[in-house]
Structure formats: structure tokens, C-alpha cells
Amino acid sequence: MPASLESNPCTRCKAEDAPFQLRASPTCGNCFAEYVQTKFVKRLAYLHKEVRVSSHLEPRRYVAGLSFGPSSSAMIHLLDRYTHMQGRKKSTSAFDILAIHVDTDLSYPPGSRDTPAQVLIRNYSAKYTHFSFRCVHLSKVLDVQTVDWSALPLPRPEGGCSEPSERLRQMFDKLPSVSSRADVLRLLIRHLLLDIAMKDHHYKTLLLGHSTTSLAALSLCEVANGRGFAIPWQVNDGRFPVTIYDPASGAEIQRTTYPIHYPLRELFRGEIDTYISVFPEIAALNPSNTEGATAAVVSHKDTSIEEVMARYFESVETPYAGIVANVVRTTGKLDRANASRPSCGLCGVVLDERGDSRWAGEMGDDHNPNGEPRLARLCYGCKRSING
């Protein structure tokens, strides 16, 4: 929020200098930061209670997704501040955070150093010395076994194309629309983050920096993607279902779950922006304000469903803040579908037991008259993303 010219004192602490707005009341930077911190700490406490395995004092070990966008950057800052606060009290355990940025720019050859993302991650690393940072290239997702790759239009390595970035790029090129590419990219990033968190048994939970606003947009984005079944899994804190596939045959090997939490879920996007203006050092880490390098895979010439939703919620957040919270609360109340049913090879959510071609809304699949059997491994929404 820009500074106001009138000099109303902070409604919370009566400080003279109160340039920020909290629920339409003038607020000083300290009080605003405290408000955000409180909302954040409340969710962390909830998470701590959920995943704690023993009563021993051991560090809380979490993997945090870092897109370099405002929310995840604020999340790292909040974690850091909280660590310092905790450091003064000896009674609670410290934090062990591994922040991961997934570099989606496929134009760099693997092993390149000094890509924009790697430069940024070094900035973060230098500032937050207590935390570990890692920049992982998106092409690493091809090693991930939580995706049924046989269900996706990925060129096979023996088909003359063995370079992972190139294979991925060819797959993205085959997707029918910008919306599809944005959707598949989002799912792959999540798979990669989950995979890293799960493989390193050191870490107990994956933290994602979604605000109330972005969770609302994500919910409705999934509604528009035809992925109604996935929504309660996507918006709630808790254990997310994961299926491990055999990379060669695509056969299911194992099913498990892994906790994903959104500690910023009770903050609006606007509140996070204000928090960032209270602490200029957050924005200073990312001077050019690059939110990852998604341009390489998702062209911004056309609008995607994801962007339409994000814009919608940013536009209604101020006049109708209530609906933003409503969406998250409502979709969060939905039951999670029975996880023993076969699951979708891309988004991981259970498939419709009745099958999609018998759905009354569709006369049958006229996209694939030859009836490619691999399609049955994807849910309605993922089929839409892959086939159009």
C-alpha cells in the first residue's frame, strides 16, 4: 500500500508513522509485520503438531518451494524471522529448511551455471545463511517416478532424442494450448518438489507459499480444468496421495502419501504485497522481479486459464474479500475421494470409477477414434490438458 498523506496514527500501537492499511485501518510497519507473522506462525504450529513424530526436541525439517514470486519469497523471509525469534527461546526446536527453486527455462543446456535462476538462488543463499538453497532444473522431473510417463506424449529416449530438456520441450510443444502447458508445467513442478522432499528422508513436509487468493484461484482453475475430484487434495493442508510407477512399463509399484502445507493460506495476496513493502530487503533479492523463467515453455502471447483465474481473484480481492476466503473454505470441506481406487498418472487423484466415456456430458471420445488405451490412465481434466 502506498503511504497516505494524512498522518493518522497506527490503530494498534498508536505510533505516529502508520503508512500501511490493515483491514482499512492505518497501521505501522511493525504492527503489520506482526499481524502477518501471527497468521503464519499459527499455521506453522498446526503443521508442527501434525507431523511431529516424537516428543524429543528435534529440528523441524521442511522443504520449501521457492518460485521467486512474492508469496514464496515472503514465506522464506517469514521462516527466517521465525527462526531468529525461536533462537532466543531454547525450549523449542530449530528449523532446518531446504528451499528449492525449479528452473523451468529449458533453453539452457543441463549443467549450465550462472543462469538467471542460479544467480538468484545465490542471492537468497547469501542472505539466509541458516537455510539451504538448491536450484533444480525442470528436466530432472523425467527421473521422477510419481508420474506415469507412459500416459504422456513424451518422446521415448531411443527415438533419437535422449536429451532430457529436449524431450520435455517436445512434449510441451505437443500440448494443445497455453492453458494445457501452464497446467502440465504446474503439475510437473509439484511432482519434482515432492520427489526431492520424499527422497531425502531428512525432511518431513513440503511447504508451498500459496496465499488465500492463490489457493482460491487454484481451486477455480481446477474447476475450469475439469478436475473437480482433485480440489480437496489441492487446497487442504495434509497428506497428498502419491503413486510410484515403474518407469519402463508404467505399472503401479507403490502408493503412499506425503504432507503438503500452505503456511500463508490465511493471508491475502494484497497483505503479502504490503508485507514485502515493509521489508524492502525481500524485493532487493530479486531486482528484476523474475518469477521463474516460465516463458520458455509457456508462451505469454495467449492467456491461460490459470492467468484468467489469477486476474479474476486479484480483481475481486478488494471489493469482495469474503468470496476469496469462501472458495478456499468451501472446497476445503469437500470429502477426499476414496484413495484405494486407481489414480491419474499425472495429477495423482483417483479416477472416476464409472469411466469418462459413459459420462452423460460427452457422447464418447471423438478425439481418438482409434481408442488409444493409454488414455484411460488419466483423469478427465488431465485428458483435457493432454488432448485438448
Binding site: 474447476v223 475450469a224 480444468n225 480437496p232 469474503g322 472446497t331 470441506k333 470429502d335 457422447m363
Partner: protein, 383 residues
Amino acid sequence: MPPTPCVRCHEQRAVVKRPKNHQKLCRECFISIFEDEVHHTITSSKLFYPGERVAIGASGGKDSTVLASVLKTLNERHDYKLDLVLLSVDEGIKGYRDDSLETVKRNATQYEMPLKIVGYDELYGWTMDQVVETIGKKGNCTYCGVFRRQALDRGAKKLDIKHVVTGHNADDVAETVLMNLLRGDLARLSRSTNIVTGDSLSDVKRSKPLKYAYEKEIVLYAHHKKLDYFSTECIYSPEAFRGTARSLIKSLEKVRPSAILDIVRSGEDMGELTPDKVQASCACDDGGMGSCGSGAQKEAALKRDSHTEKLETEIKLNKSIEPTDVVKLPIRAKPGKQTNGTTTGALPSLGKCIKCGYMSSQSMCQACTLLETLNKNRADIAI
């Protein structure tokens, strides 16, 4: 440039680009595919039984005109053996209904169907014009919505017909799914995509055979079949909030044409994920479908305060007015879902309105409650 051939018959020239999937079709193929899809909807959801008397809620607008035309065609082609009747509501808004009622009358002749027009005055003792005169323009969309919803059922009852079909299309259903999510109305969300509303408990069954038909395709169908319809919009503007959902759907459709159908699909799936306890249904309510009612207060609540916890209480207060003297009826479990016997507690219960006997979760149905207020106003004015 040579003309594009139809992708279906490969013979005729394509004149239609299907809004739903951008398929290029000739006129005949478009018409037949549109009809086949409605037929598929009807048969896959077992909507009718042979010999059934069905009232088509007819407004003279494009949706209900297309519905009447398609049903007549399918009834003959597939031998549904339905006894179809046109049922129109005259709200009593001067100058607004005159033309559309004329259209319905012409439709009755064109489709050789009997027509019944029921007036608000004969049903409620009030025309919409009189309502507006009494309470002003503010909030009258609530009246219009509630009255209209019941008017079709009441009209059908007069004709002794137990099934009313309405022209709600996929855009309407998708809009309602989004509206219910934005309002945080889980109970309505679970019902909003049902093709049939009202259940075995209610006297009149409601269904929407055009549930999967795109609004744009309905317009195209009407155009290519040269149907006689009248453009009607409720002259009393609905809540502004519904407008934002409508425009959101239009922008999504632009980005990905299948989005409307995909939202309907998601809505159906979410309906299956709705916890049993909120699924109790009420015959006077079709999941917020096209109703302008009850949203107005909520919209005000949403604007008033962004505070999450507070908001939840406010909305609850609006909903949980405990019925006092209703007959408690068992809540039907959703088919295919397990009930674990714990479905007791503060469930909304179904009963009949003490005044008119219409199905209601309150002791008095919405229409009668509104009428009470109106009649009180009228008495006040008389004094």
C-alpha cells in the same frame, strides 16, 4: 479459398464452427449432432418414461423455444411417447411479457402443443408490477426468482403434470457452480449440477435436458432451424455478483472452449464429494439455478467484512433459522455413497409449508414468507 467441407459428412460445406469444440460442420450435421447430444443426455440420465406427461417451461426465449423444438423432434424420432405441454408464467409486468407470450402462443401452434399460461395474480394475488409498486425496485429480483420458481410447479400441479422441464443450459449450470463456490454454499453446490431437482418427496419433478448444451449452440440451433423466439432478459437486474461469475465464464470459454463443459463436469464430481450432512434437499430450491433469490443478503455480507471467521458466522445465521413445526422426514442417502448411521443432529429437515403445502425446509416456504411481507405492506398502505 475453397469452401471448408463438413468434418462429419465430408460432403456439404461447413457453415458452423461449433462453439463447444470448434468442429466445422454443415447445417444438417450441426442440427443432427445437437439433437443427438440432447437425446444422449435424456437417455443416459433416464429422464422420461413412456406415456409421461411433461410440461415445458416456456418463456418464449431462445432456451425454452429450442427445448420445445428439440423435444418435439426427439419425441417423434425416438418414439419417447411423451405428452408434451407448454407452460408459461405471466409475471404481470406490463409491456415485458406481452411480446414473449405472443411468441409462446405462436410456438404452441407451430409445435402443435397445448399451452397453459398461469399468472402471478391468480397464483399469488400479486402481479410483479404491483410488487414493485409496493416495495420499490430494490430487492424485487428476489421476489421474481422465488415466485417464478414456484409458479411453474404450481402451474404444473393445476394441469396435474408431475414433470416440468426447463431450458437451463450448460452456461447456466457452470455459472451456478461458480456462484455457489464464490458464495461458499456447499449444500447448493452439491445440487447445482443435478439434471433432476426435486426428489421423490416433491410433487413436481424438475429437469434440464439442455444441461450440457452450450448457450452459443442453442442460439445457432435456433438460427439454423429458423425458430421463432423472443429475446427476453429479466428487466430487474440480478445481483451484481452473478454478473462477475458470468463474465468469468465468458473469458474462460474464450481461452478454452471446452471450459464450460469442464466446469459442469467438475461440479458433478464435487457434488459426489459433498459430505452427506449438507445434502438434504429442498424441493423449492434447485441448487441456486438461475435464481436471483437469497444471494442479495449474502452479497451484502461478503462486501461488509472480509474477516474470515466472522463471515462464516454471518452466512450461517442466514441459513440456520430452525424450523419449528415441520414434519421431520428421513434424509435420503446419496446412491453409491455409504451412510454410517451418523446422519443425525442438526439436519435441515423437509416439510410442507404451513400456508400452501409446498415443499419447504422452513415452516413457511419462501414464496409465502415473501407474500406475508407484501400483504402486510398492502395492509399498511390501506390504513
